[in-house]
């Protein structure tokens, strides 16, 4: 497009002049907040390895959201566990610390002494981290 060219915005305009795909507004659009609204964060990331470098059995989906008080929440549906922090990084670290701690705790419990829900949690954690060490 050259400077000063007229832009026709109706759908019967030539394809090159049509508005770009804007329906989600996320196509490399950087939104400027008005009235103190916080900047948006992508809602989904994948955790491929732990902060110490250990690889996971498969990428764990992490859903990010901003809580009412401005804190960031990171939730892993496949683990049914979440973490909270002042930043996205802190929230994920909190989630990972909780998951690893629970995995080790449950993994060292005598077989058969776990409640059904604990056994299920261990199965979920072991599918991601492997057998508890």
């Amino acid at each position: 497009m050259t400077m000063g060219a007229a832009i026709q915005i109706d759908a019967d305009a030539p394809p090159a002049e049509n508005p770009r795909l804007i329906s989600t507004g996320a196509d490399n659009t950087i939104w400027a907040p008005v009235d103190g609204a916080a900047g948006a964060l992508a809602t989904l990331f994948y955790l491929r390895a732990l902060p110490d470098g250990s690889h996971l059995n498969f990428p764990v989906k992490i859903e990010m959201s901003v809580l009412d008080d401005g804190l960031i929440d990171a939730f892993a549906p496949v683990l049914q566990l979440g973490g909270v922090g002042q930043s996205a990084e802190q929230a994920v670290r909190d989630l990972v610390a909780t998951a690893v701690s629970l995995w080790q705790e449950l993994g060292h419990t005598q077989p058969g002494s776990l409640h059904e829900s604990g056994a299920k949690a261990l199965a979920r954690l072991s599918s991601v981290f492997g057998p508890a060490k």
């Binding site: 329906s23 950087i30 400027a32 609204a37 948006a40 990331f45 992490i62 996205a88 990084e89």
Partner: protein, 315 residues
């Protein structure tokens, strides 16, 4: 899927459902829907579900339509991050004055306002403004030639459809009826990051059945995520499929993904079903149902069996 059935057409309805169930026939699907305009509660789909719908149909008689949506079982690792509907119309500068009234009408649910910084080469009038809910789970984009609603927490098509129609009604109550020039329904998915091993040839993404072929170059080792977009005509609809790098949500998201070890933003799978041409606002519901069926079929047809297991929470 939306299908109107009565006792006479039940056999055809059964056939359609059986076809739709095939990709995940081992699952206990959930059925919900509306009977004579009223919602019915969900139930586990199975042999009993078919009998239940038959009994319901018999009881209500042939004059009462049954609308059914088949929903897939809860998938904890579903890659869906946003579902968006957009209607475009001829540019109307009167809308600028109506935006204020509309914002006032929906402010209790959409308290945040976002604008876009100046983009070189793009007219400010073509850049949208965005109204968002406090938790950013829902947003509305407005320009002088389009209206779009996006849900970032999508539970079921039934819920999405109901909410969209409610907001859209408020908008067009203020903006007045307009001839639509384009309807679009878009499902944005973020697939897990792909790692290609040296033995793989022509793979677009391990989660997808798509593959490159027919040229020597496709047989060379893959060293990065391929990016491609293609379109297919399906009746009077067009399905645009885009695969590649996910769009940037904000600088904060980019910084986070770059800083945090082991974190990846994943790979985009964008299914955009649209219809171009003159249409009336009242045709929106018909478009929505048809486009939802197209996107649903396309998604299930594209993903591999192993990725479907992953979505369910398995390996």
């Amino acid at each position: 899927m939306v299908y109107a059935a009565d006792s006479k057409s039940w056999s055809r309805c059964s056939v359609l459902m059986a076809r739709r169930l095939r990709p995940c026939r081992s699952e206990a699907l959930t059925v919900s829907g509306r009977v004579c305009g009223r919602s019915i509660s969900a139930l586990n789909w199975g042999p009993l579900g078919a009998a239940w719908v038959q009994r319901l149909s018999d009881r209500l008689g042939p004059s009462c339509g049954i609308w059914l949506w088949l929903m897939h079982p809860h998938l904890p690792n579903s890659p869906l991050v946003a579902v968006s509907f957009e209607v475009r119309f001829h540019g109307d500068l009167n809308l600028i004055t109506r935006w204020g009234e509309f914002q006032k009408a929906v402010r209790s649910d959409f308290q945040k306002l976002y604008v876009v910084g100046a983009v070189p080469g793009t007219s400010p009038l073509l850049q949208p403004i965005k109204l968002s809910s406090v938790d950013n789970d829902e947003s509305i984009l407005l320009t002088i030639s389009s209206f779009a609603y996006t849900a970032n927490r999508y539970h079921t098509f039934v819920e999405f459809r109901q909410r969209l129609l409610e907001i859209h009604r408020q908008f067009f109550h203020l903006a007045g009826p307009a001839e639509a020039t384009r309807f679009g329904l878009r499902y944005v998915n973020i697939l897990p990051p792909a790692s290609f091993d040296a033995g793989e040839r022509g793979v677009i993404h391990p989660a997808l059945k798509l593959a490159l072929g027919g040229a020597d170059i496709a047989a060379r080792p893959q060293i990065g995520q391929p990016q491609l977009t293609f379109e297919r005509a399906i009746g009077n609809l067009v399905l645009r499929v885009s695969i590649g790098a996910p769009p940037s949500a904000s600088q904060a998201s980019d910084d986070f993904a770059a800083k945090m070890p082991g974190i990846s933003p994943g790979v985009l799978l964008d299914l955009d079903c649209y219809q171009v041409g003159p249409g009336r606002a009242e045709e929106m519901a018909t478009f929505l149902d048809a486009a939802h069926g197209v996107v649903d079929n396309a998604f299930l047809g594209l993903v591999s069996a192993s990725y479907y297991e992953y979505m369910k929470g398995g390996l």
